[in-house]
Symmetry: C2
């Protein structure tokens, strides 16, 4: 299959599932330019949303000009936003991501879009999974980026955020653009090895590819399997919580310890994680050791533990009590 046929097929499949007009995030890089061109070629009404991060001076100005000009030639509505770098936190990459998605949601609301598409490829997915593997992750982190998730609109409600190119290789995107004779911008910050993500792309990936040229596909498949497994396990965990929970005692959550113990520790931890989320208790400080402590206590006949962020657990006879200091 040629790169052109592949992109047509992938975008066709995407458009068959998502009707109505949409928003595409377009940085001006190869991936987003290709997605925009393929959506326009399929005849769908789209708005291109571009965020100028103000980090790269004249280069960012030129990116903005490039995307604006491309939209004019394609007859596509253009929406741009400049974001103040000074307002960002320490993690520039994460802050940039948040700013982009907030802007895409705003444009989706204003234009009545039914979906928002971003152009992450299989290579981005493999890099994400690898990054999480290196930092330390459980199964749910191995899922990588979702092919679809809900994006909150500023006025309430959600719109699907979709990644149609998540199974397409970066190389195939470039071949498609070459075939069209379509230019794109190279973001010079992609080559800055001070960013962890760029080091993963330019140092770790090539080393792993020297062992297995198809390591990107291998990581993406593992991610898909992890997503399937995580969904099955989350369902079991939620069912366990439902079966184990008893009426509250004042402000305290009451769980039946024998019901909890009937499940494997992995599912017990999942049930307690669901509880933590439902109660809005902070999850940040709940690390591997803390979750193992939770299940250890649930499987003893007596015990007490005070978790970070003021969550308390008491095991008495048949029940486990959990509450947070107010």
């Amino acid at each position: 299959m040629t790169a052109e046929q592949l992109l047509e097929e992938v975008v066709g499949r995407f458009l068959a599932s998502y009707s109505g007009p949409g928003v595409v995030g377009v940085s001006g890089g190869a991936d987003s330019v290709a997605l925009l061109r393929a959506l326009v070629a399929a005849g769908r009404s789209v708005t291109a949303a571009h965020v100028h991060h103000g980090l790269r001076g004249a280069e960012a100005d030129a990116d903005e000009e490039f995307v604006r000009g491309l939209c004019q030639r394609l007859g596509v509505r253009y929406e741009g936003r400049r974001v103040e770098v000074s307002a960002w936190g320490r993690n520039v990459e994460a802050a940039g991501r948040r700013a982009r998605y907030a802007f895409f949601a705003e444009v989706a609301q204003r234009t009545g879009a039914q979906w928002v598409a971003v152009a992450h490829t299989a290579d981005d997915q493999a890099e994400t999974i690898l990054h999480r593997l290196i930092r330390g992750t459980g199964l749910s982190g191995l899922r990588g980026m979702a092919a679809e998730r809900a994006l909150a609109l500023p006025g309430g409600g959600t719109v699907p955020l979709v990644r149609p190119l998540l199974t397409v290789r970066r190389q195939q995107v470039r071949e498609y653009l070459r075939h069209l004779g379509q230019e794109y911008r190279e973001d010079s910050s992609n080559r800055n090895l001070a960013y962890t993500r760029n080091r993963i792309r330019h140092e770790v990936m090539p080393l792993l590819e020297s062992f297995n040229p198809r390591v990107v596909e291998a990581l993406c498949r593992l991610g898909e399997q992890a997503a399937e497994a995580d969904e099955v396990l989350a369902r079991l965990s939620q069912d366990l919580l439902t079966h184990a929970e008893r009426p509250r005692a004042g402000d305290k959550v009451v769980l039946d310890a024998e019901v909890l113990q009937s499940a494997p520790p992995l599912i017990q931890r999942g049930a307690l994680r669901s509880l933590w989320q439902r109660e809005g208790w902070p999850l940040e400080d709940m690390d591997y050791t803390a979750w193992h402590k939770v299940t250890e206590l649930c499987n003893r006949s007596e015990g007490a533990w005070d978790f970070p962020a003021g969550v308390h657990l008491r095991r008495h006879g048949r029940v486990v009590l959990l509450w947070r200091e107010s």
Copy 2:
């Protein structure tokens, strides 16, 4: 905790679960020498089993001499075996592993040992998981090496093969030996970068540690979680197979398609994999695509597919028929 306390604690926990005399595989390298010393220090009766692979000439002779001498000084029974390299297949590493375990089983049987211990560390475990990630693996491969598995004895029956040091870092093992003033042999083939495993150890791991110095622990934890998840999913898959199976039609396996379809595709694939194993049908050619083809067919109302190695699948109305050409 000092390295000495750590090794004592880990080996103490191991010996509390495994009674009677045992066999330890001792190559003469740091890890196996440390395990032998710790077992002897704990007062347990052990036999050291050493395999001379005949690959490294005088160096291998010196390893053998070293292990024999160490056993004499420690008052430990020594069993050695020379293995013919010429008899090995193309994959020298895998063939060496098989030869070692076969010899350990033979010694276990001869000495009436209740267990066999090998000295793989957390570093070995992380390298195994990483190797599998690179080659391409599903969740079950992410488990890495089992902390315990059954080792078949030549005369029938099994003995547990245990890895007591699987949570201990290589560095801690070396500190323990330094504390004892105990020497060990360096295997020069560990530095041969023609072996994939050595490149993972000496090139990939140090690069990943430059991102996260605790990447070994991160990979080992992921492996533990994958093992827990895999066990839960295998149980669900086995239950699904039990519920879906109907009496055979001649030599054909009959499955109820509606029962299969009630489960998520991941569990359907697991159930069919269990069936493949139970029937003794070859698994080598069943790759990612083939397993996805199986579930796709089970979820259609009609269809036929002929899998590698002569396994046939037919979907008719309510049933799925599977059989292998004889």
